[in-house]
Amino acid sequence: MLTLAIPSKGRLKDNCNAWFAERGVVMEMAAGARGYRASFAGMPDVEVMLLSAGEIASSLLAGDIHLGITGEDLLREEAPELTGRMHLIKPLGFGFADVVVAVSAYWIDVATMADLDDVCAAYAGKHKRRLRVATKYAQLTRQFFALNRISDYRIVPSQGATEGAPAAGTAEVIVDITTTGATLRDNGLKILDDGVILKSQAQLAASLTADWSGEARKACEALLTRLEPAGPLYSALVAQLPR
C-alpha cells in the first residue's frame, strides 16, 4: 500500500483536487471515514489521507507516509536539511507564498539585511539584550540570518498573528508568510529589499525514510506515471531511495 496525504481543508485542498482531476485522477471519499480518508478511482493500492498541511510535513519527515502535498515553506521548516529525508517530486503551481523578513515601515533607515544587521548590533549594544524576531519559521529564519551574517538577534516563537508582534511589543522584527503583502502593509510593516527567504508553493514530496516496500514502489510508479506520463518523476525519486 502507498500512502499519500493531501491537505484536509481550504484553498490548498481545492487546488489539490483540481490538480489531480486535470490529470484524470478522480478522488473518492471513503464511506464512514468522516472525510479523513479517500482513494483514487482505479488505484486500490493508493491510500489517500486528508491531514492538516503542518501534519503532512511532519508525517513525511517521520516516515509515516510515503507521499504528501503541502507548502514548501512547511517542508523546509520541518527538515532544514532535506538530503536523505525528503525528496521534492514536483512543484504544483499553486499555493504561492513568500516567507519574508519584515520590519516596521517607521524604520526608514532599514531597507536591507545589512541595515538590519547594523540595527541588531546597535540594539544589542544599547539594551544589553538581543532584538527579537517573531516567527513560526525558526529554522528558516536561523539559516537565512546566518547566511546574511546576522547574529545579534533572538527568535521568539509565534503561532499566528505574527504580523501584530511589532505593534504589540512582543518582537521588533518578524519573519512571516505573505502572498500579496497587504496584511503586512496594513500592520505598518515593510518587506526588506533582500528579505525574501523562500518563494514557496505547494509541492508533491516523498518521504525517504518511509517503508518503501516493493508494493509501495510499484503503486508509486503507477501513480506518478499517470500524473505525468512523459516525466521522469519516478526514476528521479528512486535514485534517492535507499536500495
Partner: protein
C-alpha cells in the same frame, strides 16, 4: 568517535586518571574546581551568545513551559555565576565536565564531550594573564603526556585596531569588526570598499528624514526611538557619500588578512604591509611579540607556532588574543585545546563594569586519542 559515545570502564579510567592530573595542576596554580548544572536556563545562551553557539545548542521545554538547554560550554555559566555571586577579582576557576553540542550536517561527530579548562577573571594586567594561561595549557598537555602538538595564535584586537586606523565611516568600521570571524566576508567587503563604486543616494537632510517618519506615524516604533532612527538615517546618508577606501590600503589590508604561517615570519610580513598602508599598530604588535617570547620561554619550538591574521575562532565571544592547540589522532589533525580573551562577556552577563577575562578549554578525549597515536 560516535554521535552518542559509550564509555567503557577502560575509557572511564583513562579519562578519570587524566582529569585528576589536570585538576591537580590547575589547583597548584590557584584554580579551584567548580561545576555548573548540566541543564541551564536557555536564555543566557540564546540571548547572550551568537548564532554559532545557538545553532549548536540543544534546547528543550520543561513541563511548565520554561525553555532550558544542555550547557554547550562551561564558560558562560561559570562567568554568569561569578557575576551573580559578586565574586571578588581576580578569580581563578577550573572545571572538568561534559558539554553538549548539536553537530549540524555532521551526524557522526559526538553530541557530547568532556572539556577541562580554566577561566581567569578580572586580572588587570592583561599580558600577565595571557602568559599565565599559555603556560598553564602547555603544562597541562605536559602532565597529560602529550608533547607533539602545534599552536595557532591570532588576535582580534589587532584586526580591530587595524580597522580603526582605516579612513572609513564609524558604521562601516563596526560592520567590519563584527564580521571579522566570518571567513571570506570581510575580504569581499574590503574589495567593494576599495574598488566598487559603492555610491548610493539616500535621503540625507533632517527635513527629508523627518517628513518620511511623519508619513509613517501609524507604523509601530518596534523598540527604537525616533531619535535613534533619525541619527542612523543621517549617518547612513553621510556614509554613503564617503564610502571609499584607497585601493592601495584596501589591498594591503586584504593581503594582511591572508597571512598565515610560522609566527615570526608572519609577523614580519604584517609589519611590512602595515608600513605600505601607512598604519601604525605598535601596542598590538608588541603584545604579539610578548606572547611569542612566552612560548619560547616554555621551550616551544618556534617552528611549531603559527600566526593566522584572520583567525576565526568559531565562538563569537572572543575579543582579543586567541589560540588553538593541534595534534594528530589516527584520522588526522585534531584541535585539542582552544582559548582566548573574552573581555566583553562579563558585562553581557550583567557585570556593572568591564571585567577582563581569559580562559582555555581542553578536549580531554581528543588528548587521549592523540596520545594513542596519530603519526
Amino acid at each position: 568517535m560516535a554521535a552518542f559515545p559509550y564509555y567503557d570502564s577502560k575509557a572511564i579510567d583513562a579519562l578519570n586518571g587524566q582529569a585528576v592530573s589536570l585538576l591537580g595542576l590547575f589547583a597548584s596554580r590557584g584554580y579551584g574546581r567548580e561545576e555548573p548544572a548540566v541543564l541551564q536556563p536557555a536564555e543566557i545562551f540564546l540571548d547572550r551568545s551568537g548564532e554559532e553557539i545557538r545553532r549548536r545548542t540543544f534546547t528543550l521545554i520543561d513541563p511548565s513551559g520554561r525553555e532550558l538547554c544542555l550547557r554547550p560550554d562551561l564558560t558562560i555559566p561559570i562567568c554568569r555565576e561569578a557575576v551573580m555571586s559578586k565574586r571578588s577579582f581576580p578569580a581563578r576557576i577550573a572545571y572538568n565536565g561534559l558539554v553538549f553540542r548539536h553537530q549540524p550536517g555532521e551526524p557522526h561527530r559526538p553530541t557530547q564531550f568532556f572539556q577541562a579548562g580554566v577561566e581567569l577573571l578580572g586580572l588587570q594586567d592583561r599580558a600577565a594573564g595571557e602568559t599565565e594561561i599559555l603556560s598553564l595549557v602547555v603544562d597541562a598537555l605536559k602532565v597529560c603526556g602529550l608533547s607533539d602538538f602545534t599552536i595557532r595564535i591570532g588576535d582580534l584586537a589587532l584586526f580591530n585596531a587595524l580597522v580603526d586606523a582605516l579612513a572609513l565611516p564609524a558604521g562601516w568600521r563596526s560592520r567590519l569588526k563584527r564580521h571579522f570571524w566570518r571567513a571570506g566576508y570581510v575580504e569581499s567587503l574590503l574589495y567593494w570598499l576599495g574598488h566598487g563604486d559603492g555610491k548610493a543616494k539616500l535621503p540625507g537632510t533632517l527635513e527629508e528624514i523627518e517628513a518620511l517618519l511623519d508619513a509613517r506615524g501609524d507604523a509601530p516604533m518596534a523598540g527604537r526611538s525616533r531619535e535613534d532612527i533619525i541619527t542612523r538615517a543621517l549617518d547612513r546618508a553621510a556614509d554613503a557619500a564617503n564610502l571609499r577606501l584607497d585601493a592601495k590600503v584596501a589591498d594591503a589590508v586584504a593581503q594582511l588578512l591572508d597571512i598565515s604561517g610560522p609566527a615570526e615570519e608572519s609577523l614580519a610580513k604584517v609589519r611590512a604591509l602595515l608600513a605600505t598602508a601607512g598604519i601604525k599598530l605598535d601596542p598590538q604588535l608588541v603584545a604579539m611579540d610578548a606572547r611569542l617570547a612566552t612560548l619560547k620561554s616554555l621551550n616551544i619550538d618556534p617552528a611549531r607556532v603559527q600566526f593566522t591574521a584572520h583567525f576565526g575562532r568559531n565562538m563569537e565571544y572572543y575579543t582579543g588574543f586567541v589560540f588553538e592547540l593541534w595534534a594528530r589522532d589516527k584520522e588526522g589533525p585534531v584541535q585539542i585545546a582552544g582559548g582566548g580573551r573574552y573581555d566583553s562577556m562579563m558585562e553581557m552577563l550583567g557585570a556593572k563594569k568591564p571585567v577582563s577575562a581569559i580562559g582555555v578549554a581542553i578536549r580531554t578525549e581528543r588528548v587521549l586519542a592523540a596520545k594513542r597515536g596519530g603519526k
